[in-house]
């Protein structure tokens, strides 16, 4: 055997270390949870960057918008108006978009979403904290109600397929999905608010009655529910049909599966077969769709909240777009993107608990 020189030994030692480092990095990357989180972070960054430049491509900027307002209202010269507006705004319209991006992104990394351009001194974070809970409440309960209802009705349709009940529900479901949500919003206002006069739509502005004291007391809770009811109904009506039809087809295919047949031959009670054997398996694909629809419903919230003058995040975003308040808009986008991506992340990481077949090693 040839003796190795110390140099060679050191070199191989180094190579081994590199190999091991490479292996451990690879192992970390192979870890499902880690990889999903990294993907989520990249997604958030990409979407936020994209929207940053997108809002800057909109015609006009916050200063132009306000200058126009002042020009119309006070009849002063353009230069005068420009000076006044520029002085009161924390915004330099002449800086390049790229400079603005790096400025803003550096702040975001320090968890600072900046202050509003149009109302200087107002922190965007505070505004979002004020509006976001209402949106999450309305969208969340709307989605939850329509999801649960859709599963129950969809299963009913599958169990009574080709009966008159199935035909009527199918028709309703197709109709509900076919009509866009903003039309539903308008229809609900016109029918429930004006024709039937069940709701005093005019008085239901905002998220709760200002005469009540926020807190855990009955009048406040009732008024919160009252204000959120119509937007929630809109969310439910516009998404319910999809759940019903999906659940119906999913249930019908599960009903043909051998294990349901065997479960019946095993003499299991119907209640157990419907829940643990049919329902659980049939609803699996719907959970994936649920995470996708969170994004869609949050996005549609902008229009719905504006229609019902429900002061949630969509309402705030709408106001920011009208005044071209870049920082506020971006702040909302960041939060919306994080909410959607986070919801998907949770769904991805918990799906294994619902379906053991996709459970990855290390998850029990």
């Amino acid at each position: 055997m040839v003796s190795q020189t110390p140099d060679v030994v050191a070199a191989t030692g180094q190579a081994n270390m590199l190999d091991r480092l490479y292996d451990s990095v690879l192992n970390i990357y192979r870890n499902h949870t880690f990889r999903v989180i990294i993907q989520a972070i990249i997604t958030v960054w990409a979407v936020v960057t994209f929207t940053f430049f997108l809002v800057r491509l909109m015609p006009g900027n916050p200063i132009d918008v306000l200058i126009e307002q002042i020009l119309v209202q006070e009849g002063i010269s353009y230069q005068e108006a420009y000076d006044r507006v520029a002085a009161s705004f924390d915004f330099d319209p002449d800086a390049t978009a790229l400079d603005q991006y790096f400025d803003w992104f550096g702040d975001v990394l320090r968890l600072d979403l900046g202050t509003s351009i149009t109302s200087p001194g107002t922190r965007v974070v505070d505004e979002i904290a004020r509006y976001l809970p209402w949106t999450l409440f309305a969208v969340g309960s709307g989605l939850l109600i329509s999801f649960v209802l859709g599963i129950v009705l969809g299963m009913t349709m599958a169990y009574y397929r080709n009966s008159p009940l199935d035909h009527i529900l199918s028709l309703f479901a197709s109709f509900m999905t076919g009509v866009p949500n903003y039309i539903w919003g308008l229809l609900i206002i016109i029918i429930l608010g004006i024709q039937l006069n069940w709701f005093n739509v005019g008085a239901l502005r905002g998220t709760y009655d200002v005469n009540t004291t926020p807190g855990f007391n009955l009048p406040f809770i009732v008024s919160v529910l009252e204000h959120a009811l119509l937007p929630i109904i809109t969310y439910v009506v516009s998404t319910l049909g999809g759940w019903m039809l999906n659940m119906k087809s999913s249930t019908m295919s599960v009903l043909n599966d051998d294990y349901v047949n065997v479960a019946e031959a095993r003499g299991l009670k119907d209640s157990r077969i419907i829940t643990a054997y049919v329902g659980r398996n049939a609803s699996l694909p719907l959970f994936t769709q649920l995470t996708i629809s969170i994004g869609f419903v949050l996005g549609s919230g902008v229009v719905i909240e504006e229609i019902f003058v429900y002061w949630g995040l969509g309402h705030y975003l709408f106001a920011s777009i009208t005044t071209r308040d870049y920082t506020s808009m971006q702040g909302v986008f960041v939060i919306l993107v994080i909410t959607v991506v986070f919801a998907n992340l949770i769904a991805d990481l918990t799906y294994g608990f619902l379906d053991p077949r996709v459970r990855v090693s290390g998850q029990k």
Binding site: D258, N261, A265, R266, G267
Partner: protein, 345 residues
Amino acid sequence: MSQPMNDDVVLRVDDLSIVYQTKRGNVQATTNISFDLKRGQAMALIGESGSGKTTVSLSLIRKLPKNALITQGQVLYQRDGNVRDVLKLSKRELREFRWKDCAMVFQGSQNAFNPVLKIRTQFEDTARAHGWTDKNAVRERALELLRLVRLDPERVYEAYPHELSGGMKQRTLLALGVLLNPQVVILDEPTTALDILTQRAIIDVLNEMQQRLNFSIIFISHDLSLAAEMADVVATVYAGEIVEIGPVNDMFYDPQHPYTHGLLTSVPKLDHEQDFVSSIAGAPPNLISPPSGCKFHPRCPYATDKCSEDDPTLTGEKPDHLAACWNKDALLEAREEIARKELAQ
């Protein structure tokens, strides 16, 4: 078959006829099926695909498709001296009857288990549905049965279905089948879709289980070697009728019906040189408008005019070996001829 049921008969199918109602007309799936199954006996129903074997077995636990209609007959089930007609059980009685008295292991049990529940949960579900709530006792019994089917009991009991191979699932289903100590176990093609070694293992396991637990078996197969190995009694089913029934040795060495004989000669033999494998000419008849007389006559090499006019009934010299054929003598001659040729070779 209207004599009283002896104590050792667990299941009597009496003159059972079933039709499937379809848009093109009524399909006569089974006609006047009758047989007795004794305690501890294994009976094989053999026949081509579409001959009505599965329909018979499904009717025993009333799991027939919705368009099936039982036009006549009864399925009598005897346990501890009580005789009940399965076809007259109420919905609740039927649910309790299933699996506890008569378990069925379906064809292609690869998907017989709910994919999202552990094997343990599915054993417990079955036990609880029949009023057995002591989970520890269920566990003990299940582990014992899983050991009997030669699986690693602890591991399989805590596994999800997708973690088991096809053969393991089939054996787990067998163990689940006898969990409640049924008197009758129906096996629909218990070894199809399994490789030859797994088939062997399943057969061994079944034989051993039957010896230990003493249940009766009805199994449906087109695998004649399986029938030869496992069955005490073999019934040949053709076009929804039992055309021949008898003890396994009589059926294999002294077939009285041309169809049974045809099935037997269509199996390649290992101890003879064969240039080709013979088959039964023609195809199974259309059961919406079956042939007149003996339904086999269009395919039968020994058919005479009588065969197309009159439907033969099950008769035989021995009381336990019956065949429905007018020309048993012609078949006998033909068999002797074949035997002479083989001897001459």
